[in-house]
Each structure stands twice: as C-alpha cells, then as structure tokens.
Point group: C2
Chain length 462, copies 2
C-alpha cells in the first residue's frame, strides 16, 4: 500500500465532524444493548437533470477515515457537556471501526441506486461513521462528475482547474483539484494540491500585475524577462485587441533573444469572436506558435459552444462553475441500512418513506458489455447471485484495516479515462442524454416486494 498522503482529514479531529444524531442513536443502541452486525449501503438516489452518469470518487479519504477514527479526551469532555451517558462515553473512549467494507474503485462510472460503498459492522460502528462518508463522497463524486462533463465538452483540448478562489472552502479546494484531475483535467492552479497530490500546476499572471505597471507593455516585458519561455500574457486588462498587439511586440522581442512566448490569455468578453481576432493578429505577425488560452466563467455548456463554433482556443482554464458544480452543487448521496444479522441469519431492511424507498439485502453490481467492449447495462442483484457481467464491488477493508492496494491518483485517472472510453457516446452528451439501463435482478425485485409487504404487515404501516 502506498503511503497515505497528507490530507485535510486530520484524524484526531474529524471524528466529531458528524451529525449529533449519529451519537444519540448510537447511545440508543448502546443503552439498549443492541450490538448486532448491520449492513449499510452508500448510494446516490437520482441523477440531476443534465447528468447521465456519475464518476465515483472519495473512497481513499473514506477508508483513511474509517481506519483512523478515534475520539480524544478533549472530545469526550465536550460530549459529556452534551448530556451523553457515562456508559456510552466509556465505550466511545475505546472506539475503533472493526468492520468490513466493499466498494467500487474510484474513477468508476456509476449510476443511481448502485451500492458504492457497503459497510458491514456492529451497528454502532456502522452508524457512527455515516456523516463523514457521505460528506467526502458527495463532494468528490460531484466534482469528478462535473469535471468529466467539462473534459468531454472540451474534446481533446486541455482543461486546467482554476476554481480555488471560489471553491466552498479549503477542503473543497483540495478535492476540486484532485477530482477534476482524476476525471481528465490536465492540472490545477492550486499549488498545495499540486504538492500533495502530485498534479501539474499552471498559472502566470492576473490583471493586477498588468495594472501595477505604468503600461501594459511594460508589464508584459517585465514578465517575459523573468519567464522568457513559459510566459502566458493576460491581454484583456484594458482592451483585448490592443493587448494582443502588445503581446505580439513582446513575442517578437523574445524571438530576437532566442526565446518564445508561450501563450496569451483571454478572460472576458465574447471569447469566440475575440479569440478569432487575436489569432488573426498573432498569425499576421508570424506568431502561429503562440497559443490562446481562455478562461472566465466557463463550464461544459460554454465549452461545447466554443469548440463547436471552431473558436481558435488551444486550452481552457475552468474555475468556479466546475469547482462548485454550480448547476448542481451536491449529489443525492445517502447511507441506508439494508439489513442486519439476527441469530446468524441476515435479515433484510428497507425504508418506505414517500419517494425514498431503498433496496434490501447485500447487493452487487454486475456490468454487462457489448461485443465492442462498450457498457450495455448494469444489473443490481444479491451478492450470491450468479449474473452475467463484471463485478464492480471489491473488498477494500477487513476488521477495520485497509486490505486493498489503494491506487495512486494517476491510476485512478486511468480508471476514469478507461471507463469513459467504454461508456457509449450517447451517455456522454452534455444535454438530453438517454437514461443508461440499470436493472434489478429478478430475485432482488421479488425480495423487495416481499420485504415491503412483510413491513406493511408487521410494522403497522400501510
């Protein structure tokens, strides 16, 4: 197993990053001496409009959390002030997660209702870890999914993640860089993410740099002097076309000393129109090699339009809208009891709340492909069923210890890119994509009906 990287999961502190009801429920179990083994599924309820798949991410942080969760004396002293019982707090003091976890590998394309992480443990252990698992899978799957759409829309043009200044906080900043890279972006502007996750970092200058000098061309010259072969000059601080002329002058000056301007950047206005004019200006000066980099409120919808219109843009910086998944800033990820062991037999459980029905039992996902190795459909069935297709769930933790080799981020990126190649193109459309078929096995369908009617009979529900 690789050495876990530094992360914002500070083990001693994240244990209390939980909803209070996890603790009151656990005290409820503890005081009622309920220690049965329970199984929970983490899954996503539904696809938002304009999404046709998810790219699963966040497992590494989830597993590191499970492996290291502990409660400190300081934390227990705090919990004491919240009226939890001494007996339960004694239990919490020695708390370890000792369960078994099956999960889909990060980078896998997944769909609603598919169990992504399956936790089996004594009920208190399985319950108390819920909130953190949801939080990190929510954020990371949301970003990986959004970034995958942006990368698709850019066709083969590179996309750099630029969202740091407007991500929802520091952890989101780190995970936006991690998960957009995982989904196919070429790098990030976030230096700490570059260092921690070994992701390429990009960036050159902001408008304030240009404004600081007496004139735009002074700013360009001062920058090119320091970075003679790696400069991207930002040309829209005052006027983009005049800026392109200034950049061309500096590019020619660099040529005369044996250097080459790398690119110009546009960050405002009608990028399709302006990029054409800027390209013409540069070409006229014999600067065909100078690339055009575009940024400014971009997302997959704008990229699709720009690329479709043939805008001569070589690479994109995509920030806020990708790194906050602004058209849908969360996914409907939930963590639900699917059964428990009673007298050595597994008893399935279901929730019947209006619009929120869950699937009972310990399940697997079976992915079926066509002869071209393209995904055809998924089947959700019981783990003991023998159904055609590749299994998507693997055992990753046993007795509270990680037992799988955690892949590096670069390996996860490979997984994601391979998955995207095998996902038929109709599901990769930015809008109006058809629904990918996910079936329930016959046995799961029957069991769901049986459990429902049993619950309606025995639990005084309609």
């Amino acid at each position: 197993m690789k050495k876990p990287v530094f992360d914002f999961v500070d083990k001693s502190n994240m244990s209390l990053l939980t909803d209070f009801y996890e603790l009151t429920m656990c005290q409820g179990y503890f005081e009622n001496r309920r220690t049965e083994t329970a199984t929970f599924d983490l899954f996503i309820r539904r696809l938002p409009s304009n999404r046709s798949y998810f790219v699963f991410a966040g497992l590494e942080q989830a597993l590191l959390f499970l492996q290291s969760i502990r409660f400190t004396h300081e934390q227990i002293d705090y919990l004491r002030t919240r009226a939890l019982s001494e007996g339960f707090l004694d239990y919490v003091e020695d708390f370890r997660f000792t369960g078994e976890v099956w999960a889909v590998p990060e980078g896998t394309v997944v769909f609603p209702n598919e169990p992504l992480i399956r936790v089996t443990a004594p009920v208190i252990e399985a319950q108390i870890v819920e909130t953190f698992l949801l939080n990190t899978v929510n954020l990371q799957t949301m970003i990986a999914t959004k970034a995958s759409r942006v990368v698709c829309a850019a066709r083969s043009k590179p996309v750099v993640e630029f969202g740091l200044r407007r991500t929802q906080g520091t952890d989101a900043a780190m995970k936006a860089a991690r998960c957009s890279y995982l989904a196919g972006c070429s790098g990030t502007s976030n230096v700490l993410a570059g260092m921690v996750y070994d992701i390429p970092v990009f960036g050159t200058m902001a408008h304030s740099y240009v404004m600081f000098f007496d004139s735009e061309i002074d700013a360009f010259r001062a920058f090119a002097r320091v970075f003679p072969d790696t400069s991207t000059l930002l040309i829209d601080t005052y006027d983009d076309l005049a800026g392109a002329e200034n950049a061309a002058i500096v590019a020619k000056e660099l040529e005369s000393t044996g250097h080459h301007l790398d690119a110009v950047r546009l960050d405002s206005g009608d990028l399709a129109e302006i990029s054409k004019k800027v390209r013409a200006t540069l070409d006229r000066r014999g600067l065909k090699y100078v690339k055009i980099f575009a940024s400014g409120d971009l997302d997959e919808y704008k990229l699709e339009k720009l690329v479709g219109d043939g805008a001569p843009i070589d690479a994109f910086g995509v920030g806020t809208r990708m790194s906050t998944s602004s058209d849908r800033p969360y996914v409907d990820v939930v963590y639900k009891l699917s059964g428990k062991v009673e007298e050595d037999a597994f008893v399935p459980a279901m929730k019947l709340s209006r619009g929120k029905v869950t699937l009972p039992g310990r399940k697997h996902i079976f992915r079926q492909k066509d002869r071209m190795n393209q995904y055809k459909c998924d089947v959700i069935g019981f783990e003991e069923e023998s159904i055609e297709g590749t299994h998507l769930l693997f055992k990753v933790m046993e007795n509270g210890k990680i037992v799988a080799d955690l892949p590096t981020l670069h390996e996860i990126r490979e997984t994601a890119l391979c998955n995207m190649v095998e996902l038929p193109s109709q599901y990769k459309k930015i809008r109006n994509s058809p629904r990918y078929p996910v079936h329930l096995s016959l046995r799961l369908t029957q069991a769901t009906r049986q459990v429902t009617s049993m619950l309606r009979r025995t639990k005084r529900v309609r």
Copy 2:
C-alpha cells in the same frame, strides 16, 4: 483579544493554498525589483438574482491567515521543482505579511462594489495572499447571506443547520455551521462545529435507527427509554400518520412515568398537509406540547410557503440547500488593485476589461440612516472625504498584526441581527426585492472618469 479557536486554517499548510500565478507574479515583481506599496480592495461584483444584500463573513479566518502566513522548507523544496528562481525562494523563506488592513466587521449587511477588506502592503505581500482571502470570504459570506434569507423566511421559528453530510467538504461543513449561526440560525447538527465555535448542537435519530428495530414502536420505546425528556421521534420511515400514532402511544407511556416527549420529526412528503394531520393526531391524544420539527430539502422558498400556509411546524432543520447555497453556490468576490504609492504619492489604478471595470483609490463606505434608524443608502467615497453617514471600514491590522479586538461568534451574531433589524423590510423579501441604493461620491465618480481617460491615453487602450 480572545484566543483564536482551533480551525481548519492550519497555518503551516495553508500558505500554499494559492493559485500558482500569485507566485509567478510575485517572482515577476521580485526579479524586477518592484517593491512599491500597493492597495487592493476585496469586494463583490454583483448581486445574484434573488439576493438583495450580503451578510459579510470570513474576516476572522482571513486575519488569522495574514498574521500567520509562513512558507516551510518542505514547501520551498516543492516550489523549487516548479522552476521558481532561487532569489525569489530565498525571499519566500523569510516571508511575513507586514501590511495594514481595513475591513467591515463580520455580520455587517453589505452590497456590491463596497470594499469589504482593504489591504495595503508591499506589492508582493499584498498579492501573494489574494487567493486565500477570496476563498474564505466567498464561502462564508455566501453561507451567511443564504442563511439570513432562510431565517427571514422562517419568521420567528427556529432553524437548525443540518447540512454537514452534503456540504462541499470539511471546511465548508465548519463554516456552514459558523455562518448560519452567525446569520441567525439557532444551532447545528455538526458536533465539531458545536465544540469549536460554541454553537448549540441538535439531533436525535435517523431512519436507519427505526429500521434497525423489529417495529417502529420498538424503536421509539428504545429511544425514549434512553432520552426520556429530549426525544424527537422520526415518524416517516414507513408511514408518517401511522408513525404519529406510534409516537403518541410512546408519549403517553412517557407521561405515565413523569416524562415528556419533546417532538416528532417529518422528513419527506408534503410537509404542509402532513404536519396538519400529525398536529391533529397529537392534539387528539392531548399532546399539544409535543412539537413538530420538519426537515427534508428545505430552503427559504419552501419555508416561506410553509409558514405562509400556516403549517403547524414549530422548528425547521435546513440542510443541503442552505449549506451549499444551492441556487447560487458562490459569490462574485474579487480582489483588485486600486492603486500604489509612487514617490510618496498614491497613484490610483483601474481595470477596464469588458464588464469588469473597478473603482480606483482608497475608499470608505458611508452608511446613511433615516430618522427611524433604518438604512437609507450607502455612499462609496474616498477615505479623506467628509460624507454623511456611519463609516463601515475599521482598521483591523497594522504591521501584519491584528490590532482590533476580534469579536466572538456570539457578538458577530448580534451585529448581524442588529443589521437585519436596521435593513428596511422591502430588502428582506425572498424574491423581487428592490435594489438598495449605493451611490458613488461625486469625487469618486470624477476620479473614475479621469483615471479611465488617463489609462486610455497612456496605456494604448481604446
């Protein structure tokens, strides 16, 4: 000054939580020996639709960051691999922020274009800190603003922040709790935020708890035994009305032992309709004192409707949509050069990019009130101008040290609540609120015109 609380701002690591271009620009300044003092304004460009004001938040974390920013050897070794110059890296090794900062107090109601944080420092110092300041003000102001809307919509009914499982990561989880409390929420489900920020924490049970027992009423009894006077029973796992009957039975059993059920919770379905039926069921059993708590995909729009319809709900749990500000998951916060000192004279600077023009010079905000002590309008003018109204900017840092007493979160909450009282009610409407008047002083208007024409003349721009 109070002791800064534990926070996710880990001083030694956040320094590199920055866009790479901050470092390349700073190397550009360094290698060109540009050390002039510069002034930057942090402000928000525009109001999103359905927002009529912002509640400013995030200053405490910004100041703690400025006071503690350092670069470690490990970080500098990493930067060396990114091709930064040895001269610049030597400078970075001893980097301290030594500047002066003026800011609006957290909890203040503010509007677009108003300088919220004004940083004056040698240009490298002022530039290198940009990204973190934007990140934390973006997140916190966004949440405080959204939560303020939710609190307004709830009228005087308590709102508890329930977003932890779907906030965009761990830092967002902490700041969602901090900033929703600051804006008037009554507490949070987030235990760590409760501990760190001294916020009331709430929560009792989830659906899985009910599902774990053989029947719903067994689950309710088991819980009520452990929490005989503080139980909120979740009644919609199988069927909300049958759940209300079960809760009533348990409430009566509690009464017989001298205890009282606190509340029932609804988390799905048509809350207006169901809450009326549940209220009737409880009342029929003589349980008028049992409160109804509602949650499930709530936001200010749904709360306004529920409260307007007279739904008999006593308190709300509001999660995902508030804690991600889902209808607008970022604010257009920017950090722009407004001028620099040259030969002891302050020279104003402006950006003229299409749609992104900035205001030059060192500015103040003057807030004017009417005779009823209600906000009438704001005027943005130069700091040396004598304009009617209360100053909103205060000096909070001098020579890189915090010089203001940082208020506690409870004090900031007072500020926010007082501000909301003084904001006229038409600006607190959830939809279709008029635009609050923010004027530029005559001198600022004139100066903006002069600087624009000077820039057009001297910088080769149109």
